[in-house]
């Protein structure tokens, strides 16, 4: 086992015919990729076109189901002229702000409590049943309660986002802290680590991959918490757009708000994936995860 690693043999060292074959293979791979993208776009266009056509020919009721062109008009109208509640960007910003703040608080609380309970057996034995009971509660019903407690402002939405985010993060952090490689902990103790050092430098880094899986899901939950909170009662936000559109029988408005939400969620997901890539440089790259 020599310390030098073998570098992958470069294709161009081989004869000319091999090079052309390599190129042909690369071309084929690229074509396949292109076909996937093209089919994807075609599928979307086809579905939207079908929807538009069915609505225009009144096969489906355009009042209930609206149509893509109307939704698009609604979005651009909101973007250019503002919504009845104020500028569109302000609504997006409000929802995002509530979701983000709720998410951060929920994640922080979940991680801290999850790791603590995962490390301290006594605490997890005492609190375990209570956590289970709280988790069994359909927490979205707390949104009206929070509205009563915290009023129409952002605080009530943040609170409902927090309770939705907390539990998945908590359980994952707890599990992550429990499933730390015992060998690794034993080794750290031999190397001279104190309990605190084991927690901070072994348990938490080991649990991060567990925690990160929950972060993806939980940002979606934060958005749900914020939107539902806004839907029930608010002065600003995308959820309010939905309920206001619904109140005026504006189906296009409801769909338009949904589209905006989807875009926001996708962007947030992308940012999270980027962060994860930065943080997990130490992990082997898994091959063939092309999304």
């Amino acid at each position: 086992m020599s310390p030098e690693t073998a570098t992958a043999p470069a294709a161009r060292d081989k004869s000319g015919s091999d090079t052309s074959r390599t190129r042909a293979r690369a071309q084929a791979a690229r074509n396949k990729q292109l076909l996937v993208y093209a089919t994807r776009v075609l599928l979307l266009v086809g579905l939207l076109g079908l929807w538009e056509w069915l609505a225009r020919t009144a096969v489906i009721d355009p009042f209930n189901f609206s149509m893509p062109s109307k939704i698009w008009t609604q979005i651009s109208n909101w973007a250019l002229n503002g919504t009845p509640q104020g500028s569109l960007w302000e609504q997006i910003w409000y929802t995002l702000y509530e979701a983000l703040l709720g998410w951060i608080i929920g994640v922080f609380g979940g991680v801290v409590l999850g790791i603590t309970l995962g490390r301290i057996r006594f605490l997890s034995d005492v609190l375990g049943p209570y956590v289970k009971v709280l988790n069994a509660l359909p927490r979205i019903v707390l949104a009206p309660v929070f509205l009563i407690w915290f009023g129409l402002g952002p605080a009530s939405k943040i609170a409902s986002a927090v309770v939705l985010v907390f539990f998945p993060v908590f359980f994952n952090a707890f599990q992550g802290a429990r499933e730390v490689d015992r060998n690794l902990v034993a080794n750290s103790r031999i190397l001279g680590a104190s309990d605190r050092q084991v927690t901070l430098q072994v348990v938490i880094p080991s649990a991060t991959s567990w925690i990160f899986t929950s972060l993806h899901v939980s940002f979606g939950f934060a958005l749900i918490g914020a939107i539902v909170g806004e839907y029930i009662g608010a002065t600003k936000g995308i959820g309010l757009l939905v309920s206001a559109s619904q109140g005026t029988f504006n189906a296009a408005g409801v769909y338009a708000a949904m589209v905006i939400l989807a875009v926001v969620a996708l962007l947030a997901e992308g940012a999270l994936a980027f962060l994860e890539k930065k943080l997990f440089r130490w992990r082997p790259v898994d091959s063939g995860s092309g999304t």
């Binding site: 086992m1 310390p3 490689d181 060998n183 690794l184 034993a186 080794n187 750290s188 103790r189 031999i190 190397l191 001279g192 680590a193 104190s194 050092q197 430098q201 072994v202 880094p205 991060t208 440089r281 130490w282 992990r283 082997p284």
Partner: protein
């Protein structure tokens, strides 16, 4: 001077998940002198590893006395190094950072820890790999990292639990030679647990044969092969073969007992 390790009438009983009691080690007496390289061989699953965890302070004995350097063991000692069977490296740390972990845990300043870590990486031949992550290394390289990580703490007592069992045969011989070379300068005592008799004779001053579980000492053999040794060549010497035959007559019986037990468990 008191011996490096003294075990007196030591027993360890575990409670299995089903609630039954399992005796891993029973009434064990063993003395390891300072600077001595002792190999412990025995059938698989006989409690050799448990003996090491008792000496390291990771586990407490149920009965009896465990002393390291004359002091009763109470928790993990400062002067102990432990190389595990599976590589216990931090996957999220670079090679250099892994080797620095021990000194850093013990409060050594960063610059000094880095210097010492680099020194040991050079000694195990991984100087140019310090920025790699563990998943980018081969099995033999990981073992070197584990060795450097342990030795950087200057242990007086080195415990090794089948450290090379996961390596291929050639890498294994190479690592054994390197271990002997690294050890020769340190004056540390080594307890090397293995189920490979050849490996144990090639490395050790003394081979301890354990009984089929629960583990207790069956017989102790002095290995009078001259040092320095090269693992590949020493095993061809006639004296080596003689010793091998002698120890195998003792160990073979225990292996047979274990095998028969395993067969009756299956039946």
């Amino acid at each position: 001077m008191s011996p490096a390790i003294e075990l007196r009438g030591t027993s360890k009983v575990f409670r299995t998940p089903s609630g039954a009691l399992h005796t891993a080690v029973r009434d064990l007496d063993l003395t390891v002198e300072r600077g001595e390289f002792v190999a412990v061989v025995g059938p698989t699953g006989c409690g050799k590893s448990t003996t090491l965890t008792l000496v390291s302070g990771l586990e407490e004995p149920t009965e009896g006395d465990v002393r390291v350097a004359g002091e009763p063991v109470d928790g993990v000692g400062e002067k102990i190094g432990f190389v595990f069977q599976r590589d216990a490296v931090f996957p999220w740390r670079t090679v250099l950072s892994n080797v620095m972990a021990g000194p850093r845990f013990r409060g050594v300043a960063k610059a000094e820890a880095k210097e010492r870590a680099r020194e040991w990486l050079a000694r195990v031949g991984l100087a140019s790999f310090e920025d790699r992550y563990p998943h980018q290394l081969s099995g033999g390289q990981l073992k070197r990292v584990a060795l450097a990580t342990t030795l950087v703490n200057d242990p007086e007592l080195l415990l090794m639990d089948e450290p090379f069992s996961a390596l291929d045969v050639q890498t294994r011989a190479l690592m054994s030679d390197e271990l002997l070379e690294l050890w020769s300068g340190t004056g540390a005592s080594v307890v090397f647990v293995t189920h490979d008799l050849e490996e144990s004779i090639a490395l050790a001053d003394k081979v301890v044969v354990m009984t089929a579980g629960p583990a207790t000492v069956k017989e102790i053999f002095e290995i009078d092969l001259p040092r320095p040794r090269k693992v590949e060549s020493v095993r061809l010497e006639s004296r080596f073969v003689e010793i091998y035959r002698e120890i195998w007559s003792s160990l073979g019986e225990e292996v047979r007992i274990t095998r028969e037990r395993g067969a009756s468990d299956v039946a």
